[in-house]
């Protein structure tokens, strides 16, 4: 009898060669198209291709789907699908007791057990059968059988295994198999398309024939607002957001980057996307990319750059220059585990203080934090608005989780997008003559009569000529600061993400912890606790109403994936005791244990 709970967490795992990420993206796409809300989380191995069958080489893909809104990829999994024993060993602790284990038994043979460094006589499936509801199937054989008339080598057969699993799961959750099939047809061509389709259909029929009906689980459909939908990852959200910036500002963009995990995907998306009005440039390093972007902004296009960890550190000097030149610039930091090279594929929110202060001198610049893939799109528009309207570099914080996490997204109506009005090329003003908002003109190279000189030395207010005058410097330090504070007037209203001012405790977060905090807070509220959630988008300047909001609550807790960064910023401006919950494990908060931690914080 089909089960029908509202939320299911599925974790897929296998060798990098098993195509787990592809399986995951097709499956979540199918889920979304079948009316589920979905959030995903990829867990890449650190190596390009670690030895086959080794634990280090396992790649994971987790998602949560639900017929109501979900905000995070979920904690412990209801279903674990493993292509081999190493995958099982790596992830068994993440499967709920009594959860479903779908195991490809061909990956559990003696050789596989040896590759996973298990004792020769150890059969982990024995133990599994006790703890979990197991579904054991030799997918290799099934795939071989399905493709027998296609004359393929065993490697090619292996590679189609993920399609069989895709079919089986599509059946199991009663996704619209025609859509999934169509999507495959669009993605692949020629021989490969045929192979994949056959394998997919074989998987789809497998459930029936193998009598897996007890595992079948029909999900009720999530009622979403009407519209055209697509799935969106954080990297895509940023790339599309930049396309939207070009559209809304009527300014072309120059994106300059240098490959680094996990920021590189933005460049990859941009070159694939071939957006009208965006020129991309792969520079020789991060210093060249930030300074090339500054050059582009000087020339009158909008310069954008992105990086992670080490690359962001290298851009420090360039960002200071952009502050001094008062040119628009967007810099995107896709945070990863630090310090130094750290854990490049893992997530962390430990660059916030660097975003605020990682430059010499008084060099203030707006900092905005992305909280999810779809939010990435909106944030790019905001960042560009502030950059082009206030003539300032803007730092956007994303992270490794957001970058690859995907969710269904309603494609916005272009007429509803944020308006951006770049500062005018007003040559009647001197290069550093400020308008009422404290903003100097933006005069692109080629503007008749607009010739002017900029530089990193302190400049005379107004003329922009070099000046070492004491009072002028004092005034300009303050003018640059005031101008940045000025963007507050464009901020949207500050609203609680959950709860109201009459609640007792306020949980404050920023960035990719959104989903976990939201879920945990929701849970506490359901349990009757008066807990509210506020997720900060504007880290600098903070929202002008924030102090007042914080003052309304008896208890304040800040949750971050670091050792305490935003919390100290807030402590410096709020006399109230502020609790802190931090984690730097490279993984997102588990909503369940976060709920408990918050509960303890409340009662303590």
């Amino acid at each position: 009898m089909p089960d029908s709970s509202h939320k299911i967490v599925i974790l897929l795992a296998g060798d990098s060669g098993d195509g787990v990420q592809l399986l995951g993206s097709q499956l979540t796409q199918g889920a979304a198209q079948s009316g589920q809300d979905v959030r995903t989380l990829s867990d890449f191995p650190a190596e390009i291709r670690a030895p086959k069958g080794s634990i280090a080489g396992i790649s994971g893909f987790q998602f949560q789907m639900a017929s109501t809104a979900v905000h995070e990829p979920g904690g412990q999994a209801d279903v674990l699908v493993v292509f081999n024993v190493a995958a099982y060993v790596k992830y068994r602790d993440q499967l709920k007791p009594g959860g479903i284990l779908l195991a490809s038994t061909d990956g559990f043979d003696k050789r596989s057990r040896a590759l996973a460094k298990l004792a020769p006589d150890e059969d982990p499936l024995e133990e599994a059968r006790v703890s979990f509801r197991t579904l054991e199937c030799n997918f290799q054989t099934v795939t071989k059988e399905a493709l027998k008339d296609m004359d393929l080598g065993s490697k090619a057969v292996s590679r189609a295994k993920n399609m069989v699993v895709l079919g089986a799961l599509t059946w199991m959750y009663a996704f619209d198999y025609i859509m999934v099939r169509e999507a495959l047809a669009n993605k692949f061509s020629g021989e490969l398309a045929k192979v994949n389709d056959k394998a997919f259909m074989a998987g789809y029929y497998l459930g029936e024939t193998a009598e897996w009906s007890a595992f079948k689980h029909v999900m009720p459909s999530h009622t979403l607002p009407k519209g055209t939908y697509r799935t969106l990852s954080g990297s895509q959200g940023i790339a599309m957001g930049l396309a939207a910036v070009a559209h809304q500002s009527q300014r072309e963009l120059v994106f300059a980057g240098y490959p680094i995990t996990p920021a590189s995907d933005i460049l990859h998306e941009l070159v694939r996307q071939r957006s009208k009005g965006i020129t991309t440039f792969q520079a020789e390093d991060e210093i060249a990319s930030v300074t090339a972007a500054i050059g582009a902004s000087f020339a009158g296009k909008m310069g954008v750059t992105a990086s992670s960890g080490p690359g962001i550190s290298l851009k420090a000097e360039g960002l200071g220059l952009a502050v001094m030149l008062e040119l628009p610039l967007i810099v995107i930091n896709v945070q990863r585990g630090g310090p130094s090279t750290g854990m490049p594929t893992k997530m962390e929110q430990s660059d916030l203080m660097q975003a605020l202060h990682g430059r010499h001198g008084e060099a203030p610049m707006p900092v905005i934090a992305i909280k999810s893939a779809s939010h990435a799109f909106d944030v790019m528009l905001m960042a560009a608005k502030y950059a082009m309207e206030a003539m300032t570099p803007v730092m956007v914080l994303s992270d490794a989780f957001i970058a690859s996490s995907a969710e269904p997204w309603r494609i916005p109506d272009l007429s509803q997008l944020l308006q951006i009005r770049p500062t005018e090329a007003d040559i009647s003003r001197m290069p550093y003559e400020r308008d009422a908002k404290g903003v100097r003109p933006w005069i692109p190279v080629g503007t008749p009569g607009g010739a002017h000189r900029l530089g990193g030395l302190e400049k005379q207010e107004g003329s922009g000529e070099v000046s070492y005058d004491a009072d002028n410097h004092q005034a300009l330090v303050q003018a640059r600061q005031a101008k940045v504070m000025g963007i507050q007037s464009s901020y949207p209203e500050l609203t609680l993400n959950l709860g109201s001012k009459s609640d007792d405790m306020l949980v404050i977060g920023w960035g990719s912890t959104y989903g976990s905090i939201h879920t945990a807070t929701e849970q506490l509220r359901r349990q009757g606790h008066a807990v509210a959630h506020l997720h900060l988008v504007h880290i600098y300047p903070l929202h002008p109403d924030l102090d007042a909001v914080m003052a309304e609550f008896k208890q304040l807790v800040v949750v971050e994936m670091n050792q305490g960064q935003l919390v100290n910023v807030l402590r410096a401006r709020c006399p109230k005791h502020m609790a802190f919950i931090g984690q730097t494990s490279g993984k997102p908060f588990d909503a369940l244990s976060l709920t408990e931690t918050l509960l303890n914080t409340m009662s303590s």
Binding site: Q29, Q33, G35, M179, A183, N186, L224, P225, K226, G227, T228, Y229, R230, T231, A243, A246, V254, A256, Q273, R274, S275, K276, G277, T279, F281, A283, E284, D285, I287, A288, T291, A292, A293, I294, G295, A296, S297, F298, A299, G300, K301, G303, E317, G318, L321, L325, R410, I411, L414, P444, V445, G446, G449, G450, A451, R453, L454, G455, G456, L457
Partner: protein, 322 residues
């Protein structure tokens, strides 16, 4: 516009007697000669005495970061491929901290003339030895003589597959103007090394090349298709002997068919000439070739590949209706 109209009203702040004044002057005269459009001309520099030049010229200008002028200029060129961008830099700026950006600019062949003021010292920071300083040079950071080997900007450029390399001197105004015009006319990155006297921290570094009395023994000028002739009586030429460039007498005297004929398109001989770092050095355009220009390639590729509208991008791939 007249040369002086290209000057801003800023006080020029170099030391009295500095070679930089000459370069500034020649540049304004070149601007007059080529009719440079101030609205479409951009000077990009790094940091150093030499890199202050953009402040004094009444065009667009950006005094950037130490060493990063090539990257900034590349960004300007990507955004405004048709702007006339000039790069202004020093031996420290271009070859110490900025060496990497320079070689990548040269390899990409971004269309900019490069005025590299080589005074073999860090002027602005008050006189430390630079990568082009001669071993043994006394300076504030090497009071007992530097032990570093010198970097040769011209061979480095040949190593990075530059499409134009030339050398001139602050004290040869006419030649300097000629070289600036040639660098500007070149289609691609054009590295012009300018020997420039820092009379405060490294006075006389190029005395033997610039002093009228000695210059004839220490310099020769190369011109495409012309014989290389050396010495007061122009009776000597060069030949390559086992990897060394040697000076030989023309014999029979006056027989120019024996002379090394300069071919700006010959990279090997250009490299040989560029290596001449001793007491006899070439001036003029040493090498030049045609190669695709980076910003043009970028925009050609973009045009070929086609650019998508926002509407199309948002709806690309799998979409569905609810």
């Amino acid at each position: 516009m007249k040369a002086k109209d290209y000057l801003t009203d800023q006080d020029v702040r170099w030391c009295p007697g500095c070679g930089d004044y000459s370069v500034l002057k020649q540049l304004t005269e070149v601007f007059e000669a080529i009719g440079a459009d101030p609205d479409n001309t951009v000077l990009i520099s790094g940091i150093g005495c030499s890199s202050r030049l953009p402040y004094y010229i009444n065009t667009y200008g950006l005094h950037g970061l130490h060493g990063r002028a090539p990257a900034i200029a590349t960004g300007v060129k990507l955004a405004s491929p048709d702007a006339d961008v000039w790069l202004v830099t020093g031996d420290g700026d271009a070859l110490s901290i900025g060496g990497n950006h320079l070689i990548h600019l040269l390899r990409r062949n971004v269309n900019v003339p490069i005025l590299l003021f080589n005074n073999e010292v860090y002027g602005l920071t008050k006189g430390q030895y630079s990568p082009t300083s001669q071993p043994g040079q006394h300076s504030r950071s090497s009071p007992l003589g530097s032990i570093d080997q010198a970097l040769n900007p011209l061979t480095l450029a040949m190593g990075a597959n530059a499409s134009f390399i030339a050398r001139s001197m602050d004290r040869s105004p006419a030649h300097l103007r000629e070289m600036m015009i040639a660098a500007k006319a070149h289609h691609g990155s054009a590295l012009l090394e300018i020997y420039q006297n820092c009379n405060v921290f490294n006075d006389g570094a190029f005395e033997r090349f610039s002093n009228k009395q000695h210059t004839i023994d220490h310099t020769f000028h190369v011109e495409h298709g012309k014989p290389i002739l050396i010495g007061k009586d122009q009776d000597k030429t060069l030949q390559l002997v086992q990897g060394q460039v040697e000076v030989i007498k023309l014999s029979p005297a006056g027989d120019l068919s024996q002379a090394w004929t300069h071919d700006i398109h010959d990279p090997i001989k250009a490299y040989a000439l560029a290596r001449m770092a001793g007491d006899l050095r070439p001036f003029g355009i040493i090498y030049q070739c045609e190669r695709p220009v980076h910003e043009q390639e970028v925009h050609r590729a973009m045009a070929e590949q086609g650019q998508q509208s926002l509407e199309v991008i948002l709806h690309a791939g799998r979409i569905w209706e609810v």
